[in-house]
Assembly symmetry: C2
Homo-oligomer: 288 residues x 2
């Protein structure tokens, strides 16, 4: 049996009781370590907490070495641990498909992920549209496919969750040219970088999917002991220091009810200005 076990967002103890029981009795325990990180735990603290060895599964292992992960899983119980919930990335779906083909049973032990825990900012989850990924711009690659998706969401009043890029175990290209495989230090996109990239794209496209005054919420270290929210405009958040990773951003749509606003305003430095920004922003798509 292959168990996909969600680890939640932050602490070693964010695993469910049922998940922990399964991890303890599995023959091999893999930790998927490239699409996200647990904020308040690492491999060593997990091993100590589980009383088990944990094998780090990087992209190569999951995408090319799945035979190794699934080896003998028809007989043995194998745990594959995923930060957040288990179906957050297509590579996990792919692993399940390959397991099925080998006649291996699969069970998922679900947990919180940013996709539902973001409700902690006060905005109702059922007024979120499609989520978008924001990747690090490079000199020659500044993809803006997110722009159209944000526009689509906002045209119908929906909020957008922006999932920020994580670069773990990326090879250094200069070293690679010299024939050496050296990894870059991990990089986690900040709220400020995300918002600067968004402003740059709006500046270029000028279709007013959003403006510098569009109200947003910076979500820092969701589910961790130092979790924080900041309600401010896009422009303000482009200058905001949200501290240690991981970060996300929510861009508001027009569907903000009074109760949600009351909740959100707790996170605004200037409540009147934020309220005014929401009112002004709501005009953006009403004329269309």
């Amino acid at each position: 049996m292959l168990y996909l076990v969600g680890l939640g967002l932050s602490h070693a103890t964010d695993i469910t009781v049922r998940g922990l029981e399964i991890v303890k009795r599995c023959k091999r325990v893999y930790l998927e370590a490239y699409t996200s990180i647990l904020m308040a735990a690492d491999k060593e603290s997990l091993e100590e907490f589980y009383g088990r060895d944990v094998i780090l599964a990087d992209r190569e292992l999951v995408e090319s070495g799945s035979d190794q992960i699934l080896e003998n899983a028809q007989e043995d119980d194998i745990a594959f641990l995923v930060v957040g919930d288990v179906f957050g990335a297509t590579t996990h779906t792919d692993l399940v498909i390959r397991a099925r083909k080998l006649g291996i049973k699969v069970e998922a032990i679900h947990n919180a992920s940013v996709m539902n825990a973001v409700g902690a900012c006060g905005l109702q989850l059922y007024t979120f549209g499609q989520a978008v990924s924001i990747v690090f711009f490079t000199e020659n690659w500044r993809p803006d496919s997110f722009y159209h998706k944000i526009m689509e969401n906002r045209k119908i009043g929906l909020h957008t969750l922006l999932l920020l890029d994580i670069k773990v175990k990326e090879p250094n290209f200069d070293e690679l040219m010299k024939g050496r495989l050296v990894y870059e230090p991990p990089r986690y996109m900040s709220v400020a970088t995300c918002c600067q990239q968004l402003l740059e794209v709006e500046e270029k496209r000028k279709e007013r999917a959003y403006t510098p005054q569009t109200p947003c919420v910076a979500v820092s270290r969701l589910g961790s002991p130092t979790q924080s929210f900041k309600a401010a405009t896009l422009q303000e958040l482009a200058e905001y220091d949200a501290g240690e990773p991981l970060h996300s951003v929510v861009m508001l749509g027009s569907q903000v009810h009074e109760l949600e606003l009351e909740y959100l305003l707790e996170f605004a430095d200037n409540k009147d200005a934020y309220r005014a920004a929401i009112a002004a922003d709501q005009e953006l798509f009403t004329k269309n």
Copy 2:
């Protein structure tokens, strides 16, 4: 301190290790028992598992009796348990706002909810639009505001998660007229009822937000030991017996990638017909 603790979807052991530690040391433990149910546990089995008394919190207590829940929470630790994740319903947001006003600190212990665990059907979460609630039609009240929202989602290719009505502790009106307060047995909307209501509304409005042939996925007892999925058209699901509650339905949008389709087809009785239904359905909004 007020702890909002998500219980996940099904088993008593779906609580996180951190959540369980908190429940064990709180002075009072409330279980919110009207917006959802835990499928494989009840008050008694939770009390046994926690080694603690659990107070059932019905709608009256949460919405009108919150002073009782929050009593002395400036000093004492109080746990408020919610099936799924903690910010699934506006009443929980409201409880946090009232706690803040009383100077009570609040911490959320997140968990899986249908909003993220539905990824288990194989469709990627970031291609879901706004979720909609489907309530039981009565003779005189057949609300169809969901129809426009599904249309909005599908126009931009997004899937829609349909959250099905739960009626717990509803007074019997005949008895109420006689001056007696008698509660109806709980009712949980089935996949078939949901799909029949959807067909009725399309039949009436004829705006082709969807058709009887639109591909859907029936989601039964998500996260429980008897979880199952059925990929079929809306019309087929209107006749489908999905078994014991709880049920949800996903209506597909056009953004279905090959990997998702491969995953989904495992749940179809007739793979070729389902694949054809997806192809035909994708034509619906391309002509606009």
